[in-house]
């Protein structure tokens, strides 16, 4: 039984002059096809919904708003909505301080909000638009000269999959961290380069590739391995969206922000 409404990510036919509404826990998206134009409206939900739904809306019932956007594309027929990960790295700020002792390893499950992408089914598929489903804050990771602009997400680092909410607008990222240094690893900020991750669809959840992070020390760069296969925590996962920028197997990047670099006034 679909308790989260994950079936809203299935391909759908949008005939001429028909309007569809995708209703997600915190945002609704209306899509209407008129000749070669796609009319799109995205509005936040007043109250958080429990599950995602998709429904046809009579044209007279569609919201009157000045925020409708219009995309020109000749494509018609079957359209594929897909859950893509945000377009910038996401900096996770845990809601409590955790310290991983030297030589230890652990696994966390992170719920990362996905964006709604509508594309033609193809082949080849053509993207019509991307739309965030949950507002993330803007944040900076690194020093003011060489750092990078990211999305910020305050969340809990879940040790158990059972405590992660199932939702059609979040993808679960299994993150295995190994402290291969002689110092304590304090989690204040973790930067996840989500643009390198794909999204997979299961029966109740969306998933990303698993990440394996090896911390070598505060002065050393961190090694990150992105699993090529879908996570083995659920069987028969289906690829829902390719990574925006597929990465090589091993990646070396700064991932942990342990000390505040901006204490200056």
């Amino acid at each position: 039984m679909d308790r989260t409404g994950i079936s809203v990510w299935e391909a759908v036919d949008i005939p001429q002059r028909k309007c569809l509404q995708w209703r997600f826990p915190s945002r609704s998206i209306w899509v209407e096809r008129v000749e070669t134009e796609w009319h799109v409206l995205s509005l936040p939900e007043a109250a958080r919904q429990h599950m995602a739904t998709r429904m046809a809306v009579a044209r007279s019932m569609k919201p009157r708003s000045t925020e409708w956007r219009h995309y020109l594309h000749r494509a018609g027929g079957q359209m594929r909505p897909s859950p893509v990960l945000p377009d910038r790295p996401v900096v996770i700020r845990p809601d409590r301080e955790l310290t991983l002792l030297p030589g230890q390893s652990t696994i966390f499950y992170l719920g990362i909000p996905v964006w709604f992408r509508l594309s033609t089914k193809g082949p080849p598929p053509a993207r019509i638009f991307d739309e965030p489903l949950e507002g993330l804050t803007r944040t900076w990771f690194g020093d003011p000269v060489t750092g990078e602009l990211c999305w910020g997400l305050a969340t809990r680092l879940h040790h158990s999959l059972d405590s992660v909410d199932t939702a059609a607008d979040h993808a679960v990222c299994p993150l295995e961290i190994e402290n291969d240094s002689e110092t304590d690893l304090e989690f204040q900020k973790i930067c996840i380069h989500v643009e390198n991750l794909s999204v997979f669809r299961g029966r109740q959840r969306l998933w990303t590739n698993s990440l394996h992070v090896v911390f070598k020390g505060p002065d050393q760069v961190t090694q990150i391995e992105i699993a090529r296969e879908p996570p083995g925590l659920e069987q028969n996962l289906e690829l829902a969206a390719q990574a925006r920028q597929p990465a090589a197997g091993w990646n070396i990047r700064k991932t942990f922000g342990m000390l505040k670099s901006f204490t200056d006034f």
Binding site: V91, G135, T137, R138, T139, W140, F141, P144, V145, G147, L149, G152, K189, S261, F262, F265
Partner: protein
């Protein structure tokens, strides 16, 4: 007129005609060749270089090419370069005295190109002028101000002035300085400003905003409210944060300080006695 030209052309000797033809070929081929070299260098060899470096390379090739073609033409015409250079030395002294400013600008331009305090596309502030750099040349830089005016600043002036490169780094801090009335709950003011920064979509949550009570002023307490932002978001942040602070302060009942004067009436002894009412019966 045309007939005169034809007659003059026929009167030229074969040697002169040959020389003229060779000079024309040298000029045309030389200039085309160096233009082509500049284009190839820019498009293929320096494809990943900055706009500024490509521009400098193009100008270096073009100017060097021009000098080489000129020397080749002079050689073709039989002008002895040694004598010319000797004469040029004397002329150079005279011209040097007359063009001290230009030479100073050229040398300053070379320093600027090597020091690279800014590049094409950067926003700089020099004196009272702020604008986007359009080109960096040997004598001057050209900038376009935000109200779309063209400003030429001599290199010599830039080298001796304080120049602020506004967009050098990817993030900046915007400081709003204002005063709140005495008698406000400062802890509440601090919390409200923190909340305003948190919900503003253009303000970065890291680095954290700076909220500082800076001074006791004549009419109120001065606050510095500094928000970090990506350099491209200056206008949306400025407009939204001014609105946010004003509307949120109004909702929370936090009053901005205004200049205030307290006027005390004179002492009671010097007041005029109250008028007696006329008795009525």
């Amino acid at each position: 007129m045309f007939q005169q030209f034809v007659n003059w052309f026929h009167s030229l000797s074969a040697e002169v005609l040959t020389k003229g033809l060779r000079v024309a070929i040298t000029v045309v081929l030389g200039l085309v060749l160096f233009r082509l070299l500049a284009a190839v260098t820019q498009r293929y060899l320096m494809r990943k270089s900055t706009l500024q470096r490509r521009m400098v390379a193009r100008k270096a090739i073009t100017y060097s090419g021009f000098v080489l073609v000129l020397l080749a033409v002079l050689g073709e015409l039989g002008v002895k370069l040694t004598a010319l250079l000797g004469a040029a030395g004397i002329v150079g002294i005279a011209v040097g005295f007359a063009s001290q400013t230009s030479v100073s600008n050229i040398i300053s331009g070379l320093f600027l190109i090597s020091e690279k305090p800014f590049a094409i596309g950067d926003v700089i502030r020099i004196g009272g002028t702020t604008g986007i750099i359009q080109s960096i040349d040997l004598l001057s830089i050209k900038i376009r101000t935000f109200d779309n005016m063209f400003v030429r600043i001599p290199n010599e002036k830039i080298l001796s002035s304080e120049v602020t490169n506004v967009t050098r780094f990817p993030i900046r801090r915007m400081d709003l300085v204002f005063q709140v009335d005495y008698g406000q709950d400062l802890a509440r003011v601090l919390a409200v400003l923190g909340e305003i920064a948190r919900v503003n979509p253009w303000s970065l949550d890291e680095p954290e905003p700076v909220i500082l009570f800076t001074e006791f002023k004549e009419s109120g307490i001065e606050i510095q409210f500094g928000l970090w932002f990506a350099k491209t978001d200056f206008m949306p942040l400025k407009n939204s944060i001014m609105q946010d602070v004003t509307s949120r302060f109004a909702v929370e009942g936090i009053r901005f300080a205004h200049p205030r004067r307290t006027i005390r009436p004179d002492a009671p002894a010097r007041r005029a006695p109250p008028r007696k009412r006329a008795a009525t019966s």
